[in-house]
Symmetry: C2
Subunit: 217 residues, 2 copies
Amino acid sequence: MSKVRVHNFSISLDGYGTGEGQSLQTPFGHAGTRLVQWAFATKTFRDMGLPGEGDGSTDLDDEFARSWKPNIGVEIMGRNKFGPQRGAWEDETWQGWWGDNPPFNTPVIVLTHHERAPIHLQGGNSFHFLNADPATALQHAKELAGTKDIRIGGGVQTIRQFLQADLIDYMHLVVVPIILGRGENLWAGLEGIEQRFDVKSTPSPVGVIHLEFNRKA
Amino acid sequence: MSKVRVHNFSISLDGYGTGEGQSLQTPFGHAGTRLVQWAFATKTFRDMGLPGEGDGSTDLDDEFARSWKPNIGVEIMGRNKFGPQRGAWEDETWQGWWGDNPPFNTPVIVLTHHERAPIHLQGGNSFHFLNADPATALQHAKELAGTKDIRIGGGVQTIRQFLQADLIDYMHLVVVPIILGRGENLWAGLEGIEQRFDVKSTPSPVGVIHLEFNRKA
């Protein structure tokens, strides 16, 4: 059975997965880069061309970071992760944040109320725009992924919707010890969902806490 | 210099320090005992007569638990921690949850808009009812505590008020991996306070995460 997985998703101590005021210049709003600093310091993210100095760490954080990719056949992401535009597509030349050769190397399903023609890029990357609920989107993803797993790539609303629909098998969160106070809260409306999971915590030397949610058998 | 300390204060993953619907029968509301199970399993809490089986653990969790008491001269608590009554005191025979010989063995300042005569019990315990802001209450506490430290005993609102007033030097929180969804949220209105602290996390084998906030020099 293919699994539905979440990886490397950072939240603040008060549960926010992104700050307030997202834009092209500030994709995490007032959170700036504080939620993703731990990731940008790893070799895995540096190899994807993300900003930082040196070759990147290969320690505990990188072990978590790099497990995002193996055995994934499709990513499902929300429209807000794909880009800063909202509403009807005014600029169809926008092909995502990731340039001509994105790091996914699989089909990506972008959930949106505004469907458009798919985009095919190098390296096995393609973006498919779908107006569907989580269960339907997952069905499409499985057809594309074959026996491989599906990654739910975020943002906050997308992960929350899949959690609400009880469709997540494995979720790796990273708690960053900051209090953002504003933005999109991952936990809103999810009272009691921990009952479906075994939860394991692993602190990192850089100060974040890795949390793994594994669906109970 | 005496310090202002918080110990053994449990919150859910979504930041709630107590659930909704607190009463005499359900002091943590719909959270039940889920926030405090880790503590009730320790020797420190068992020795205070709290419910549980056996002698209690003496491991990592107990090491944290037992550090609540040494070198504390006074506790400051909110009125809601003292008891379930709200508004004017209708039952002055209520002397707190802790019986004739509470575990504090120091003076306790109870913050309330409704002052009443102090209560003196065995073992150096006394309750003093004070209508004051955090800074003023702390001044009173220091007069009673001499060179010893002051503990802020909770509940949520009281700790939050002392954090907002920037009066906390050390705070030990325990993150319990549950999503409560409702109740009193510790982090409300505290955006950015982590900047004042070094934060250290220590996971426990029982699944909770100990967080220590130490004020930066």
